[in-house]
């Protein structure tokens, strides 16, 4: 510190001394693009200490005259570049050239303004969550934040476990990229939400399909890309704190981040969030045991310069989520009773306690990354990341077992990846990469419950090559290929009776290692070779007309749940059975997007068709009897399927202060082999909003939002089961969708300046304004209880 002060003093002295000296030197030179050395026109060069500036001409040349001798800093600004600061020492008239990074987006540091896209793909369907919407959902989850985008829905378990779905697909078909790390958080289960804190992201993009091959070849549904916000290039300290008061659940959340950027482009960023809610409420009753406690934090530091950068990051996530007490049931008769009663069987007074059934999940993520830029070539990245995910699920059990988890899994993943991007040429761009991943799953035997997911080691190796070519000024084409090798080596106990019932004794007898009592120890080892590819074109004109067409071939290896599940799932009162015979599923998806922006209005239309071969589905197939009664059996099987859908949106600026936005999503899913509807396909939904904005009323903004969700009329048939209690066959309405519903919401916001200290933003968000009673088809607790009643969220954001 004192050294720095000394230097500063010396500099000052020098410059004063310089003033006394000759002031007749000149500095001239060129400002050029780092990649192709093309001149940068209109760059501003500024010497703050002398308050003089110069602008580059058509040849990228500049000149400063009448400079005094001394040490200075020159700040170079260009509209398409990141501002850079260079030190110069003037002792005589001199010539100096500067290089600037011209392709801003190549630094992954584009400022996101409104609906401006930062494309991850050339021709795929992409959409970005607005910064406002991200802040509004600070007290919610990732799934809630991206749900406002067209074509995005979610599969919920209550209101706190929100599993994102894109174009009707969820789970392992969706990749979540958290700051460049592919999340490995047991995404295979219906009641497993992504283990990420929405507050840790600076921006979120959703790619609706498998066109972003650099992230993975198996994103049949799509990719959610969470990225850090851009770091400015100056010595600074800034941050923000978001406080949320949430009425439904009688709790709130706080999230804070602080970034320090040092003079030499080293940076340090810390972030933390905490959320606590008690029992939530439906319009007519308390949803007993639906609270949540969530803690997340991250720290990252590193250095980012034009030529190279290094970064280390560690993040931690912990969530303890209580699951609706009434949704824990014993057998099929309990389920029939719940479906028929229309009200949860257990309604208790409000509490903050998180009781059984509940989940406790933790996720550790560590990452080291490095990049180096080669002049005239491109950028090389290398990254190592480590993830450890622990999931404990507690059921309602007898006696002291109640304090012991019924499911306790620990998933550890190491990944090493590298890629090189050639972006120096003007007309084309190439990217090639390699990835290796090693994963170990350990189910803790202390649960005293047979393992639902077995011990396994998984090795993955992949490589990709993608390219983009500028065909004509407004036309870009792209293509890419990818290969992935997946090997899974599991050790699993099967009940002998199950092994035989599945017919494995005929087909897989060589997998048996040992017979222990009535169980068989087996060692299934499977290898999958997956190929994926994409191609498409992009046309954009004058920033008013956009056309994108994309074709993507994606192949996904079955997840451990699809292969190995075997056991009773209490929260669903069903026996779930995987199948060792399941092979990779293949998707062929075609998508088209047409967007037009006029002066006061605009629209976009995005139709798509996804043809799925060997699509893996989980659906009711029969009934098994145990001493506890009858249970429906849900089995995984493969079929050919088709998803057809269209998303459309429009906006209109009726008046400088008034704007309206409209959105509709429609998707149809069919099992082509059985000519039936697919399960859990989102119903048609319409979203309309009317916004009022007035800048000189403290940026006051108010919006009224209407969400209309129609009834899903296409669903697989219900099943007939024998009810021991009623001593007869009964129809189990397990697939019947609930009625259509309409919810109104209200958002309001105003901003206040805190002088030189920062900015204060206050907002009020009301969900389900009219306290409407409804049930949602894509909520797994719809059999037991209504959806959430009115919720008022008051938010205070302080930027400093």
């Amino acid at each position: 510190m004192s050294f720095r002060q000394l230097v500063l003093l010396a500099t000052l002295l020098l410059s004063f001394w310089g003033h006394g000296q000759e002031c007749s030197f000149s500095l001239r030179g060129k400002v050029q693009d780092f990649h192709d050395k093309s001149p940068l026109v209109g760059a501003t060069l500024y010497i703050p200490e002398l308050e003089v500036s110069a602008i580059t001409d058509l040849n990228g040349e500049y000149i400063f005259e009448k400079l005094c001798a001394g040490n200075f800093e020159i700040e170079i600004m260009h509209p398409e570049c990141r501002t850079l600061i260079f030190p110069v020492i003037i002792t005589r008239s001199d010539t100096r050239d500067f290089l600037m990074e011209h392709h801003l987006e190549k630094l992954d540091e584009v400022k996101v303004v409104g609906s401006l896209f930062t494309n991850k793909t050339n021709s795929g369907l992409e959409e970005q969550v607005s910064e406002e919407s991200l802040l509004r959902n600070s007290g919610a989850s990732l799934g809630d934040a991206i749900k406002e985008l067209s074509g995005v829905s979610s599969l919920n378990t209550g209101a706190t476990i929100v599993k994102p779905a894109i174009h009707g697909l969820n789970g392992s078909r969706i990749l979540v990229l958290n700051d460049g790390v592919r999340m490995q958080d047991m995404e295979w289960g219906d009641e497993h939400a992504p283990n990420v804190d929405v507050n840790s992201a600076g921006s979120i993009s959703v790619i609706k399909g498998a066109s972003a091959l650099q992230y993975g070849g198996d994103a049949i549904g799509g990719v959610i890309v969470m990225e850090q916000s851009i770091l400015p290039v100056r010595d600074t300290l800034y941050g923000k704190t978001v406080l949320n008061g949430i009425s439904n659940g009688r709790g709130g959340s706080i999230s804070s981040d602080l970034t320090k950027i040092f003079r030499d482009q080293w940076f340090l960023r810390v972030q933390g969030s905490y959320k606590r809610l008690g029992d939530q409420e439906a319009p007519d009753y308390i949803l007993s045991n639906t609270g949540i406690a969530e803690t997340a934090s991250s720290i990252q530091f590193g250095r980012k310069t034009l030529e190279w950068g290094v970064q280390a990051r560690y993040s931690f996530y912990d969530a303890e989520i209580a699951i609706l007490r009434a949704s824990h049931i014993g057998n099929i008769d309990d389920l029939i009773r719940s479906i028929n009663s229309g009200e949860p069987e257990i309604i208790r007074p409000f509490t903050y306690d998180l009781q059984n059934p509940r989940q406790d999940v933790t996720h550790h993520l560590g990452k080291l990354s490095f990049y180096k830029r080669f002049e005239g070539m491109g950028k090389w990245n290398v990254q190592y990341d480590f993830q450890q995910n622990r999931r404990r699920e507690y059921d309602v059990r007898r006696g002291e077992l109640n304090d012991r988890a019924s499911l306790d899994l620990e998933l550890t993943t190491h990944s090493l990846s590298t890629d090189f991007k050639w972006d120096a040429a003007e007309k084309y761009e190439w990217q090639a990469g390699l990835i290796g991943r090693y994963q170990v799953n350990f189910p803790n035997p202390a649960t005293g419950v047979r393992r639902l997911i077995p011990d396994y080691n998984k090795t993955e190796l992949g490589g990709f090559l993608t390219g983009e070519y500028k065909l004509k000024p407004n036309w870009n084409i792209d293509a890419g290929i990818r290969y992935d090798f997946v090997n899974i080596d599991a050790t699993k106990f099967y009940q002998t009776s199950r092994w035989e019932e599945r017919g494995y004794d005929q087909e897989f007898s060589d997998l048996v290692v040992e017979e222990i009592g009535n169980q068989l120890l087996t060692n299934p080892v499977f290898t999958y070779h997956n190929f994926s590819g994409t191609t498409g074109l992009n046309y954009s004109k004058n920033n008013t007309t956009f056309l994108r067409f994309n074709y993507a071939l994606a192949q996904r290896a079955p997840n451990p749940s699809e292969l190995f599940s075997d056991g009773l799932h209490h929260s669903a009162a069903r026996i779930e059975l995987g199948d060792l015979r399941i092979k990779s599923e293949i998707s062929n998806k075609f998508s088209l997007s047409y967007e037009r922006r006029y002066n006061t209005w605009g629209f976009s239309v995005e139709p798509y068709a996804n043809f799925l071969k060997d699509f893996i589905v989980l659906e009711p197939t029969g009934v098994e009897f145990t001493i506890r009664g009858a249970f429906p059996v849900w089995s995984y099987r493969q079929t050919d399927a088709r998803l057809l859908g269209i998303d459309a949106s429009a906006y209109a600026d009726w008046h400088p202060n008034w704007r309206s936005e409209h959105q509709i999503s429609l998707v149809k899913g069919n099992d082509l082999e059985q000519d039936l509807a697919l399960i859990n396909i989102p119903p048609v939904n319409l979203r309309n909003s009317l916004n009022f904005y007035k800048e000189n009323w403290q940026d006051f903004e108010v919006s009224l939002i209407s969400d209309l969700v129609l009834r899903q009329n296409e669903f697989p048939p219900n099943i007939v089961v024998f009810s021991p209690e009623q001593q007869e066959d009964v129809l189990l309405e397990i697939n019947s969708p609930p009625a259509a519903y309409h919810l109104l919401g209200l958002n309001s916001k105003a901003e206040f300046s805190l002088g030189g200290f920062g900015k204060l933003i206050t907002s009020v968000v009301v969900n389900n304004l009219l306290n409407t009673t409804y049930r949602d088809y894509l909520n797994r607790q719809r059999y037991f209880a209504d959806g959430l009643g009115r919720n008022v969220q008051i938010q205070i954001i302080v930027n400093y």
């Binding site: 007898r398 006696g399 090493l416 077995p454 199950r498 056991g567 249970f631 209690e725």
Partner: protein
């Protein structure tokens, strides 16, 4: 070239990393600790006669095999039987008696008896929890005239107590078994 050095370091890393050996010991088998495999109702006639045993046994628990149901004989008309219930987990050796656990947590459990299909009989609770509400691991079974039908037993965990019958008891079903019996 400098970049080739970086690449070679990377591949070296990849090799070391993928050559991790996996000689983990085999996982230990898990025997379900809370599963109830065997339900036995023993009905002893008041004043002497043949004891009737009703049993259902499902050794593979949640596995695909259905429970084996046995009824030792027919009931005698117009008699009173003293019934007792025993629950076992036979996947463990020696088998674990779960009746004790149920009786220890008597306020959180209750048995229900269901007579169906025209069986001319009635049941009554013979033991109660600490609050005086029925528990039902002991009961009396009174037969009427000759007939046949079903006798069902349901164990609910965390039911609403007191209650009138299964319909308003709530809770989760731990056992639901039904026997076809006759009175002759």
């Amino acid at each position: 070239m400098k970049s080739s050095k970086y690449f070679s370091i990377f591949f070296l890393g990849l090799l070391t990393f993928s050559s991790c050996s996996d000689d983990d010991p085999a996982p230990e088998p898990i025997n379900e600790e809370e599963i109830i495999t065997t339900f036995t109702a023993t009905l002893v006639p008041d004043g002497g006669g043949t004891t009737i045993t009703l049993q259902t046994r499902d050794l593979d628990g949640d596995g695909p095999n259905p429970p084996e149901v046995t009824v030792s004989g027919d009931f005698v008309p117009n008699s009173v039987y003293n019934g007792s219930l025993v629950l076992l987990n036979e996947t463990e050796t020696p088998s674990e008696n779960i009746t004790n656990e149920v009786e220890a947590e008597d306020e959180e459990h209750q048995f229900f008896y269901t007579i169906g299909g025209g069986l001319n009989a009635s049941t009554e609770y013979a033991n109660f929890d600490d609050d005086g509400n029925p528990l039902g691991t002991a009961f009396t079974f009174s037969t009427g005239a000759a007939s046949s039908g079903t006798l069902g037993f349901t164990l609910r965990h965390e039911p609403t107590k007191p209650n009138t019958d299964l319909a308003d008891a709530g809770g989760e079903t731990d056992i639901a078994v039904t026997f076809s019996v006759s009175i002759q």
